[in-house]
């Protein structure tokens, strides 16, 4: 049981980074972004492809032991660029639509990126080792279970990012502006907050984080393929909904709950039952406490 919980925590830790990305974007823009996983994955897949060929134009090929790190760095960069593009050219024009239709727009973005990956990068899985280079796959033994440093790093990173971001939101002037925008964009604008800047900030940061998350998640499963990050995103989204869509700490905790649920239930009752339990939990939260455990705003 303990072993399974630890394994589950490791899995949840990988979702947690993605969940933090979801929460960041939701806090800033009230958009539940289903594109964010694929926005992180795009650069990673590009990097992995170039790992095996070589970077076009400059012709450089990253050495084996930093291949994963190179791809992850590219994922972060691509994520940030995509964040700017998506916010400015897609989300801003649909700013005044209903939350559900904005969610569908992000689905369209995810689908586009996935199909572009399929078409221009790879139509099958690309192997991914570790964003930490060769150090990441070393194992350490904890409470009778064996974890990789990747697992530990992703969970640690998620916690650190959540803590730093929470401090940032509470203590800084711009953080205050982000929280005001979460609460009421129109009033914030009347107070001089440049809401579009808040939107851009959260999209860029969220997508860059998703790049890191993609690196760790694909290292855990050993490969990445089109739409795989969107599938992972659904678990992260479940975690974020459970924890509260505007609470960074809640996102981490919710993801850990989802991870443990998978870790404990999958070996005994199969993965279907584990997903079913996650669904049940999400429904329960939506019905009993729609703002999640730590959240302050209802989804939708």
């Amino acid at each position: 049981m303990v072993t399974q919980i630890v394994t589950g925590l490791a899995e949840g830790g990988a979702y947690a980074l993605l969940a933090v990305a979801i929460v960041l974007v939701f806090s800033g823009t009230k958009v539940l972004s289903l594109a964010i996983g694929e926005m992180g994955a795009f650069g990673l897949m590009l990097g992995l492809k170039w790992d095996s060929t070589s970077v076009p134009l400059i012709g450089w090929r990253p050495p084996e032991n930093v291949a994963g790190a190179f791809a992850t760095a590219l994922a972060v960069l691509c994520g940030a660029v995509l964040g700017v593009v998506v916010e400015r050219f897609i989300m801003r024009p649909v700013e005044n639509r209903s939350p559900a239709s904005k969610l569908v727009v992000t689905l369209g973005i995810a689908l586009f990126l996935a199909l572009a990956e399929y078409q221009f990068i790879s139509n099958s899985g690309l192997p991914m080792t570790s964003p930490l280079g060769s150090a990441g796959i070393n194992r350490l033994h904890l409470l009778g279970s064996s974890l990789t440093w990747d697992d530990v790093a992703s969970l640690g990173l998620a916690v650190v990012v959540a803590v730093l971001m929470t401090l940032f939101l509470r203590k800084t002037r711009f953080g205050l502006a982000v929280r005001a925008t979460t609460s009421d964009p129109t009033v914030s604008r009347l107070l001089g907050v440049k809401v579009s800047r808040v939107h851009r900030f959260t999209w860029v940061l969220g997508a860059a984080l998703a790049g890191i998350a993609a690196g760790f998640l694909s290292a855990t499963s050993g490969e990445i393929y089109p739409l795989s990050m969107t599938a992972a995103l659904l678990y992260a989204m479940a975690g974020a909904v459970i924890g509260g869509l505007d609470s960074l700490g809640g996102a981490v905790l919710g993801s850990l709950i989802v991870g443990v649920l998978q870790g404990v239930l999958s070996p005994r009752f199969g993965s279907t039952a584990a997903v079913g339990a996650t669904l049940g939990l999400v429904l329960l939260v939506l019905l009993a406490r729609p703002r999640g455990i730590f959240g302050t705003v209802n989804a939708g």
Partner: protein, 916 residues
């Protein structure tokens, strides 16, 4: 059949229908000849695309018509496919297998809908997405998804071309069936639930059942699509099932690209998404697939109506070419003479069996009240919206409900129609209404209108009128789909009554116009007409005259009296326009902050001192600005007041001098002088929302250091004026010059940077943030933290109550404290001009007085100019100048001594001529 042909031929006489016919014929020819010239493997892809289009059509019903954004449609396609395969492989004949697939998918979909009944919008999307994840795991592991199960086609379907025709027939049947759903009871209910779920109970519609029906129908369509797919493939491979994440996302893409409510668009989109990438040569096909989401997102940004919208636009364009532009309808109600009206009422009466029966039961005890509400109490959180309110309505009586904003009038309506829970009792015709569920009350004869239009704006006027009669549409949904005789006769009857009711209000020429295209006043009349259609016993009218001209309002009064006299309909009428109450009502209640403060005949109530006070505010406001500041100011505030005096104002005129200057302006406003003295000048401002123009040529100005009032009743355009000044709404015409700079059309972010600060309507709290954080945000544009700290200190000394609450969340403050915070926050930026929207809204008279006094003092001490939007006449004491708005225009303006006249004018307009 002959009927149909005759109708088709007569339809052709209108040239406008020709393009539609041509393209229908074109598509039919294309569809029928397709197997003749398309390679077999390509035809196969077309068949799958058609199968998916059936599922997409169902999803369109769920998303477009019923407003439930489900992302799990592919899961039910999977359920249908697996069911069909399972049954088929065990030798079940295909019709049974297909039927079972539809039923099982439909029932499962409705079951999944059950926990979703209590969530909405984004939450539905989240939950269905997680369900999709679960279902695809479940289906993939079910064992049925393997090549060992075969569903062999019957002999007549083995050829691909015959299976294609088979599919085509099923698609056409689905389109026709779903179209029938849309135009009968169920479809109207879907639309109503989508547009105003919280209100549909007032139309006698059960939101829950309706949504489940929509889920069920969408599921059944998905099941049929899955069955078609299964029989085509004959077995499901272990991977690439139709229920995976990608097909699920593509289904959404199909619906969005196709466009809500357009079967042609959706089928075309399904072929584009599911077939084209495989039918085209490899490279082109691959690019097509990548193009799909691009088209989808582009559609969502630029053409939310999808392909269907484009088709309709082309249709309209060609129709106009052939038949000329359609005659523009007159969006205003026609004048219907009293004789016609009487005939309409007679018609409505004859058509309504129920009312006749009721009349028989009603006569014996005329004395007993029709509606008797006792001790109605409603609390929202800590706020008591209604405090043991007693209201009675006798049969055939018209009762008025007056009171200022936030008095609880609409809440009382919501209690009677069951939309808001309350303690207390409501006896209605001797029945305890509290035990009747909300959707059952319309059937008992309680009809109502809403303050904002409560009926779907996308639907046409006549559809709305029929929808309002939902409790009378007694037939099964399936009967409606199959167009059984009972459905046809019921629908005809409902339509006849709808037309009668429209004629009664002079609206019959607008029957086919989408409700949302009409001016606001006309929409309200439609809503009244819709409420009357069922011949209710009790009609609740929430501000029926807003947006009507005075002639129209007179005519409405006449119609209502006629309805009461001829049909015995009792009414409860909420009105801001008190003369209307005096015109139609027999009896009248006045509410103030949730309590009944007066009751009696209208002429008495409007003279009641308590009512006058409630409407006009305190008669005697202590006039802080007319006395030396130190005299009226409480000791604790005198000192710090000088601290808050902004640095920037030091070199400005001292208050006394300024006041003197303002006085001169008022007495002799020479043109050049006035020009110099204008801090804010608004000239010829026009603005509105969508097709609705709210402001017409609004002009006024504010001098430095002055308090100016903008008054008027609800809907006069005051708030819109402020919103336009702030940049929330873009002006259509006119100029706004502030401090010598043109600021009209600037974004709201620049408001503070220009030196204007806004206290928005409803105070604009950021409820999750603390008081200090709210104040910090007030000075967001200032980057110097020491300066902010200093200002914060000043504010806390001026508003000691806020410093006590500094660390509490703004949302936990009382209304009065929130108003303080809102004003304090606006002052944090040290503005030159403070804009305040409804300073007294929701405040007690005492608190209102305090707020006004505080504004006067602020103005006195710091010299900040203030533009106040108000309803309460008491605010007149504050200002040197006042503008009164009516129907989006500045109706009158006054300064100094003339303001007494304005006061009389306002009192008349609020309380009717009876007061003077």
């Amino acid at each position: 059949m002959r009927d149909l042909v005759a109708r088709g031929l007569s339809g052709l006489r209108d040239l406008r229908n020709v393009p539609r016919l041509v393209y229908l014929v074109g598509i039919s020819v294309l569809a029928i000849t397709l197997p003749g010239w398309l390679a077999v493997f390509r035809l196969d892809w077309i068949i799958s695309a058609l199968a998916f289009s059936v599922a997409a059509l169902g999803l369109d019903l769920l998303i477009g018509q019923a407003g439930q954004v489900s992302l799990a449609q592919a899961a039910f396609v999977g359920v249908g496919a697996v069911t069909a395969i399972d049954l088929g492989s065990h030798g079940t004949p295909w019709p049974l297998a297909f039927l079972a697939a539809m039923v099982i998918s439909g029932v499962l979909s409705a079951l999944i809908g059950v926990p979703l009944l209590r969530v909405r919008g984004l939450q539905v999307a989240i939950a269905t997405l997680v369900f999709q994840l679960f279902a695809q795991e479940l289906l993939a592991s079910s064992g049925l998804v393997s090549t060992s199960y075969y569903f062999n086609r019957p002999s007549f379907l083995t050829a691909d071309s015959s299976y294609y025709y088979f599919t085509l027939v099923l698609v056409v049947l689905s389109v026709v069936g779903l179209k029938r759903v849309r135009i009968t009871r169920a479809g109207r209910a879907f639309l109503a639930v989508r547009d105003s779920e919280s209100r549909v109970a007032a139309f006698g519609i059960r939101a829950g059942t309706t949504k489940l029906l929509a889920y069920g129908m969408a599921g059944a369509a998905a099941g049929l699509g899955g069955a078609i797919y299964a029989l085509q493939q004959t077995s499901l491979g272990p991977t690439g099932g139709p229920f995976q994440l990608q097909p699920s996302l593509l289904l959404i893409a199909v619906v969005l690209i196709g466009g809500a409510g357009s079967p042609t668009g959706i089928i075309a989109a399904s072929i584009l998404v599911n077939a084209l990438p495989n039918v085209l040569p490899t490279t082109a096909g691959n690019y097509t697939l990548v193009a799909v989401p691009v088209i989808m997102v582009a559609m969502m940004i630029f053409q939310p109506q999808g392909l269907g919208g484009i088709l309709r636009a082309v249709d309209r364009f060609l129709g106009n070419l052939l038949a000329g532009k359609p005659v523009r309808y007159d969006p205003e109600p026609k004048h219907a003479d009293i004789e016609t009206a009487r005939q309409c009422i007679t018609g409505l009466r004859v058509a309504s069996h129920r009312t006749r029966q009721l009349e028989a039961s009603r006569t014996p005890d005329e004395a007993r009240p029709l509606l008797a509400a006792r001790g109605i109490t409603v609390r929202f959180g800590g706020v008591t919206a209604l405090d043991s309110v007693d209201v009675a309505v006798a049969p055939g009586q018209i009762v008025g409900l007056i009171g200022s904003n936030g008095a609880g009038k609409s809440t009382f309506f919501n209690v009677v129609s069951g939309l808001v829970g309350a303690s207390g009792t409501i006896q209605y015709r001797g029945v305890d209404l509290m035990t009747t569920p909300a959707f059952g009350r319309k059937g008992l004869g309680v009809a109502r209108t809403f303050q904002e239009i409560g009926i779907p704006k996308q639907a046409s006027v006549i559809e709305n009128m029929v929808m309002a009669q939902s409790p009378l549409a007694r037939y099964w949904t399936l009967e409606g789909v199959l167009a059984m005789p009972r459905t046809v006769s019921t629908e005809r009857r409902l339509r006849e009554r709808a037309i009668l009711s429209l004629q009664l209000f002079g609206l019959d020429h607008l029957a086919r116009v989408p409700l949302g295209d009409l001016p606001h006043g006309t929409m309200r009349l439609v809503e009244v007409a819709a409420a009357v259609t069922t011949a209710p016993d009790l009609l609740l009218l929430d501000e029926a005259t807003a947006g009507l001209t005075s002639e129209e309002s007179d005519e409405l009064a006449e119609r209502l009296s006629l309805l009461r006299n001829e049909m015995g309909i009792a009414m409860l009428v909420i009105e801001h326009h008190v003369p209307f109450i005096a015109q139609v009502c027999d009896y009248c209640y006045c509410l103030d902050t949730g309590k009944v403060i007066a009751a009696g005949p209208p002429s008495e109530v409007t003279r009641d001192p308590a009512v006058v006070k409630s409407f006009l505010g305190e008669q005697e406001l202590r006039r802080a600005h007319r006395m030396p500041a130190s005299v009226t100011e409480p000791a604790s505030v005198t000192e710090p007041a000088s601290v808050t005096e902004p640095d920037g104002l030091e070199e400005r005129d001292k208050p006394e001098k300024r006041a003197a200057q303002a006085e001169v302006d008022v007495l002799a406003p020479g043109p050049e002088q006035a020009d110099q003295a204008k801090l804010l000048e608004v000239a010829g401002l026009c603005a509105g929302y969508g097709s609705l123009q709210v402001l017409f040529d609004v002009s006024f100005w504010v001098a430095p250091g002055e308090i100016v009032l903008l008054m008027g009743s609800n809907g006069a355009g005051k708030t819109t004026t402020l919103r336009t000044l702030c940049g929330i709404i873009k002006p259509r015409k006119g100029r706004v010059v502030f401090n010598g700079h043109e600021i009209s059309g600037q974004a709201p972010e620049n408001l503070l940077r220009n030196g204007l600060a806004m206290v928005p309507e409803g105070r604009g709290m950021l409820p999750d943030l603390t008081v200090t954080e709210n104040l910090h945000l007030g000075a967001y544009i200032s980057r110097s933290s020491s300066e902010i700290k200093e200002r914060l200190g000043g504010i806390y000394e001026t508003f000691p109550i806020l410093s006590k609450r500094a660390r509490e969340q703004a949302g936990s403050l009382s209304g009065g404290e929130q108003q303080m915070l809102a004003i304090a926050r606006a002052l944090m930026s040290q503005p030159k001009l403070l804009l305040i929207d409804e300073a007294s809204l929701g405040l007690s008279p005492l608190m209102t007085e305090t707020t006004f006094e505080m504004l006067a003092r602020l103005n006195e001490v710091s010299g900040v100019s203030i533009l106040v939007v108000e309803q309460k006449v008491a605010a007149l004491e504050l200002a040197k100048r006042v503008y009164v708005m009516e129907k989006g225009r500045i109706a009158s303006a006054a300064e100094g001594a003339q303001m007494a006249e304005i006061r009389i004018l306002l009192e008349e307009s609020y309380l009717g001529a009876s007061l003077t």
